[in-house]
Amino acid sequence: MADYNMHLLVCGGTGCKASQSELIKMNLKNQLTELGLEEDIQVIHTGCFGFCEKGPIVKIQPDNTFYVSVTPEDTKEIIEEHIVKGRKVERLLYKDPSTKTSIIESKNMDFYKKQVRIALRNCGFINPDNIEEYVANDGYEALAKCLGEMTPEETTKLIIDSGLRGRGGGGFPTGLKWDITRKVEGDQKYVVCNADEGDPGAFMDRSILEGDPHTVIEAMAICGYCIGADKGLVYIRAEYPLAIERLKTAIGQAQEYGLLGEGILGTDFNFDIELRYGAGAFVCGEETALIHSMEGLRGEPTFKPPFPSVSGYLGKPTNVNNVETFANIPPIINKGAEWFGSIGTENSKGTKVFALAGKINNVGLIEVPMGTTLREVVYDIGGGIKDGKEFKAVQTGGPSGGCLTKDFLDTPIEYDSLIAAGSMMGSGGMIVMDEDDCMVAIAKFYLEFTLDESCGKCTPCRIGNKRLYEILDKITEGKGEPEDLDRLRALSDVVKDTSLCGLGQSSPNPILSTIENFFGEYESHVTIQKCPAGQCKSLLQYIIEDEKCTGCTLCFRHCPVGAISGEKRSPHFIDQSLCIKCGVCYQKCKFDAIKIA
């Protein structure tokens, strides 16, 4: 049996592969074989290390040495110096940019572990169906600490001091919300967990509920203790069956262990949790709409004030927080406000979970400290753009957010700077677009979403968004005119300014930010009727190049609408007025004679 005593880990991420990491691996292997060390030392490929800027990366275990910017020519030196002589190759080590000293081990590199897991700390680590594993990882200690050692006032103050802000999108200070609800008089109060995650592509709340349901239960109990509520309700999408199942199991276990129910941990504090199922309406993420939905009414928002803190579920004081916000509570109690405050930036403390998606290599669920730049997320964690394409924009804040260009890549991720840049934090969707994405089509995609999800209660959102969508549709169909851009802007402003709830107040954001940042692209659609990204079908033209066409008639025979004509063995012609841009001719042509204009 081969028992390797050393491993050479060569990054096989897309970025590193592009800079010859395959060759590096081969060189290392060959050189080890030459030295007869192939039985002792193994060379393998790994996934992306998340430090593509300094790739390719070679990591040596067990001594954890981390070499950066390795070239195929460097392999000999690594083998001879490090492996054979046991000396580090100084020049390939990472130099701390401030101190200029070399850092050997990756765990000492600030840049390397860009992610910090607080909300996701137990996800992918413990068995969610086993309360004991949660307890083994400090589970329910925060609740015990609150009930045993702290008053509700002190606990609330701790949350205020931590600087935690709502992770559902609004960014309202969580502690303050608790404090307001705590101070409102009421014979019955409620803690509501908003698990009605609805942003397209966002799934962090689902992942937390699936991976660490107890953290939400514990946090809701702590919240109940603070505000004086003995009843918790989780409003969860019925489309999340696994999350529901895990949550149910967890609630059952917590009840069995006496961590929910009457007289929790030997105190006189009672708290229990019930589930309420939502049908997946995006607008029910808005807290007043959520509450109406739980009450059995139409899921539509009402004017605030009164805020739920004063008059919420069944008219009682109700504190609503989202899943990710709750998941931050137990660590804050356990490790203190100061610890939490040390992560993140001045006005945005802690971390934020993002569902990273789009044209990016490492699509996934990530958790980064506030203040991390978009560049770090896109390149270091996301591993850069797929297929070596050009980065075009990153969309944050879901359908309410905006598209930021490469000029904004160094924007730190925090509530205020994202808004200043023309987007927003949102609940954590992050979609990366490349050069092939048409920004008008992207704006249209988001509008279509809000159009579907609007409750229809207020005029600007019900009809205004419809009209915005229609204008965008017209533009992508090649029927736009320059005045449409003014109309888009003017109407967007009014919809933002007059809508009843956050959905309508933010729904034009994708339009405004794309017009602002990609004006040329819009202009090109409405003036010369061209889609620069080549995405808008109606603006494409399939044209047969006479000099390449052999007159084989293949395209003619496959065209479903008879738009192609021509004699055998002489160049064919596409009648643009008949062409439906299905692209069949383009696929069928064996002579590359059909081009897209």
């Binding site: 996934g47 572990k113 992610q115 413990i126 083994a136 329910y140 992942s207 699936e210 490492n362």
Partner: protein, 131 residues
């Protein structure tokens, strides 16, 4: 199950569970007890994590490897589902991505049995709250 009535009860349970886990990790037969966590969130399951988990359980059982295969939540590497974390006693945990049955068999054959690493390791690129 007796109810947890106080902080002391909770701590006691925690100690018990932790020592159980430690015992599991550094028990009498450390060379035999392998731990595999399969990421079983919706996305994982959708891309075949259940099959992968069952495969590990059956195959390790058939091959007489004393292993503990458990489920866990989302590890975050959506692009590489199904993902698993493999811990050989005494060693650092290793995460593998794209673990289908073929890959699972390779991991068992090489990593579990021969202690060789297999291509496709995903470097852990996050800090935990205890770091």
């Amino acid at each position: 199950m007796t109810k947890i009535k106080s902080l002391a009860d909770l701590k006691k349970l925690k100690d018990e569970v932790q020592s159980k886990i430690k015992l599991r990790e550094k028990g009498d037969h450390p060379e035999n007890l392998v731990q595999i966590k399969v990421s079983m969130a919706t996305c994982g399951i959708a891309s075949g994590a259940k099959e992968t988990m069952n495969y590990f359980i059956e195959t390790l059982d058939n091959q007489g490897v004393d292993a503990l295969v458990t489920q866990t939540g989302c590890m975050g590497y959506c692009y590489a589902e199904p993902t698993i974390e493999l811990t050989i006693p005494g060693k650092e945990p290793v995460i593998y991505g794209f673990v289908d049955k073929v890959k699972a068999q390779e991991i068992i054959d090489k990593h579990v049995i021969k202690n060789e690493l297999v291509d496709g390791i995903i470097p852990v690129n996050y800090k935990t709250i205890d770091d």
